[in-house]
Amino acid sequence: MIRLDQVSKRYAPAVVAAVRNVSLTVEAGEAYGLVGESGSGKTTIGRMLLALEVPSSGRVLFRGEEVSSLRGGRLREYRRHVQAVFQDPYEALSPRQRVEKIVGEPLSVHRLCGASARARRVAELLRSVGLPEEAAARFPHQFSGGQRQRIAIARALALEPDFLVLDEPVSALDVSIQSQVINLLRDLRSERRLGYLFISHNLAVVAYLCDRIGVMYAGCLVEEGWREDVLCQPQHPYTRELLDALPGSGRLLAVPGPTLAPPAAVGCPFRHRCPYMMEICCTMEPRIRPSGAGHRVACHLYEEAS
């Protein structure tokens, strides 16, 4: 349903690209988790998918149509299929609108129903995210962070989209609230056959919610595969480092070398942090290539084998 084809994004010619030659596919109804540290380009991918940014090169396709070429009515039609929930629930809701306006706005913008039908629909949406109907008459500042995120989710669901871009939807919430929202997202997905692009730096959350996982480092997709494969048989050294850093993994950071080293400009971007660095890593950037069923990795370690 969604396909990124050699997508790159740079914000200024002199600056390092935020996203470099990323290709990936998300099928209808699939939950795809994108993990990586801040600055790895995962948010930029979400923003390009939402037509908030235009790729510098490559194509972002939705059902075969290039998203950045959509204009006017076609773009509005696209918006009905792809919606978003962002990280900060304190920023995501217009502070001067009541909840009924916030949740009902997509419906009125797309002229989908009259005022009374809209009120019913808003009540229904609020109930589906676990909020009382009375919430409709209140302002965002009268809710807690978790409740606000539920309102943001209700708004994103108003147009009955097929696909949600979830950009760190729980990272700004209290830990006790995080699991509630994660469970809500899991339930909504099974009820509505939603596809997710779940962007997070938290591998544990992604592992719980997603079918497939892509790992990003310095703007590149370095590994991708089914959840079980990535979690149980990680191939890229960076993925292993991420898994080792998970609490309860039994191992403290096993990877030697500076963890805060900047991405390398030439060759493999991860080589300064990589315990398996070879000669070739300094001169040639590895391309992402298949290494097993549904599994892809960008690392010279696996090129010799194949």
């Binding site: 939402l50 990280q87 900060d88 995501a92 809701l93 001067r96 913008v109 302002f139 500042h141």
Partner: protein, 285 residues
């Protein structure tokens, strides 16, 4: 008794500023219908009672605020003068705010050459001293109330445009505005529904401060002889002619000065109060 904290508390309190509201509505009402409030014709000359002091300083109740060098009643002239001050303060500030909002929002939202054009003109206007610009325009067009208003709008809109542009640029990158785009809102809806309500408050505060500033500016221009023309009463003109009598008849310049001061204070205070009232974090209804 420690008086200062009480004063400060009153000036900063979030409660209804009754004094400022009374003063403000009083000035507006008096300006709307000076005939009903003025005890005398403001241009009636009564040489026999010239330079009568105000009540309490040796004057009597016939002329509460005394009379001027031609025996005209100061209170009546103040009341008629309010008309000019209110018209100029309100209309000038509203006109400037409207133009500034329109240009500032376009510049901030659309950016690019639109932004560059608006901001260069705004900087040009802000870089010319207000008085010089006003004197130049009035000198070219001739003194009249309409031209005075034009000048005040011309010298004031740029500050609104700059304020609004900065606010809009800040808001444009915020998540709820981006999510409005994702929801399918067009540029006009985003500007009017999501951005405008959030820039109204700072604009309103600037507007309230501006009303006072414009009243003072009108008084200064009239004082210099390029604003309202005699014999029409204006607070600035009254101060100008009262200046010569400062030693012998202090009330001629002081009374219009006080009127400017109090009106300006009341406008500022009401602006602050409105800002607090309009803050959504204080609204629970």
């Amino acid at each position: 008794m420690n008086f200062t904290p009480v004063m400060l508390r009153w000036l900063g309190s979030k409660h209804v500023p009754w004094a400022a509201l009374t003063m403000g509505t009083g000035v507006v009402m008096v300006a709307a219908a000076p005939r009903l409030f003025a005890p005398y014709d403001p241009t009636r000359i009564d040489i026999l009672h010239r330079l009568a002091p105000p009540l309490g300083w040796g004057g009597n109740a016939a002329h509460l605020l005394g009379t001027d060098q031609l025996g005209r009643d100061v209170l009546s002239r103040l009341i008629y003068g309010a008309q000019v001050s209110v018209a100029v303060g309100l209309a000038g500030a509203l006109g400037a705010a409207a133009i500034g909002l329109l240009l500032g929002m376009s510049a901030g939202y659309f950016g690019g050459s639109c932004d560059a054009a608006v901001m260069r003109v705004a900087e040009l206007i802000l870089s010319i001293p207000v008085m010089l610009l006003a004197l130049g325009v009035i000198g070219a067009l001739g003194p009249s109330l309409g031209h005075l208003l034009l000048v005040l709008v011309l010298v004031s809109w740029a500050r609104y445009a700059r304020l609004v542009r900065a606010e809009v640029m800040r808001l444009r990158g915020r998540a709820f505005v981006e999510l409005a785009r994702v929801a399918g809102c067009g540029a006009i809806r985003i500007i009017t529904v999501h951005i405008l309500p959030n820039v109204l408050n700072p604009t309103l505060v600037l507007l309230a401060l501006d009303i006072g500033r414009l009243i003072v500016l009108e008084a200064s221009l009239s004082f210099l002889g390029v604003g309202v023309q005699p014999p029409a009463p204006s607070w600035g003109l009254m101060m100008a002619s009262g200046r010569e009598y400062l030693r012998t008849a202090w009330w001629l310049a002081t009374m219009p000065g006080l009127a400017v001061l109090l009106t300006c204070l009341a406008a500022n205070r009401m602006g602050d109060w409105m800002r607090d009232r309009l803050d959504p974090h204080r609204r629970t209804d």
